[in-house]
Symmetry: C2
Subunit: 131 residues, 2 copies
Amino acid sequence: MKAKISIITLGVKNLVKSKKFYAKLGFKANDKYKGIIFFKLQNLTLALFPQKELAEDATVSVKGSGFRSFTLAHNVSSKKKVDAVLAEAKKAGGRIVKFGQDVSWGGYSGYFKDPDGFLWEVAWNPFMDLV
Amino acid sequence: MKAKISIITLGVKNLVKSKKFYAKLGFKANDKYKGIIFFKLQNLTLALFPQKELAEDATVSVKGSGFRSFTLAHNVSSKKKVDAVLAEAKKAGGRIVKFGQDVSWGGYSGYFKDPDGFLWEVAWNPFMDLV
């Protein structure tokens, strides 16, 4: 198996609403395909698909609640940029769950939730080149 | 905001067990940092972090159950390779939840679960270059 992830698919409640949110963040939507949205990011594809259909595709129950136990991190090159991206996410309709702050591992980070509650960390990490 | 995801972090129950699983799939672990595992993939970083600590870091409740409402897709260049990767995942200790099969959108795909139940789709897609 190659060490790569081609697509991250988020199962969403409202495709139109979620698409608008990510479009406001500057992600370019490919809506050539019906019923699914693909955002071609710099390094992989982010897909939005109705939650129910995603569960059906994986042949699992759609039932679930609470913490999804994963986060997506968006790394930037300075503390200021962490705050700027969090502000941008808020303006787009996201909810700040943790304001940018110095963290125990020596970086600076905060979190926002997208319209479905998916957690994005915005981080400045002085130890790893993730920008 | 740039259109990129730097890291996907999975909140896991057992760091050692999960690390072994992904190592068996051929992902190279960087365990230079204590208490967190980073796999530098071709296009982004996959991190494993204890579930409880991940929730704490995001300042959200760790409570959650059932469908996490997201999938990670690993695309390959043929139907045969879909079956081969699924077999590899099973051998590594993953659970096949959907065997490779022709799917409605014109491709061929199957799913496996990692030790924490995270869903990976293995897919051949003749319409998009995701390999």
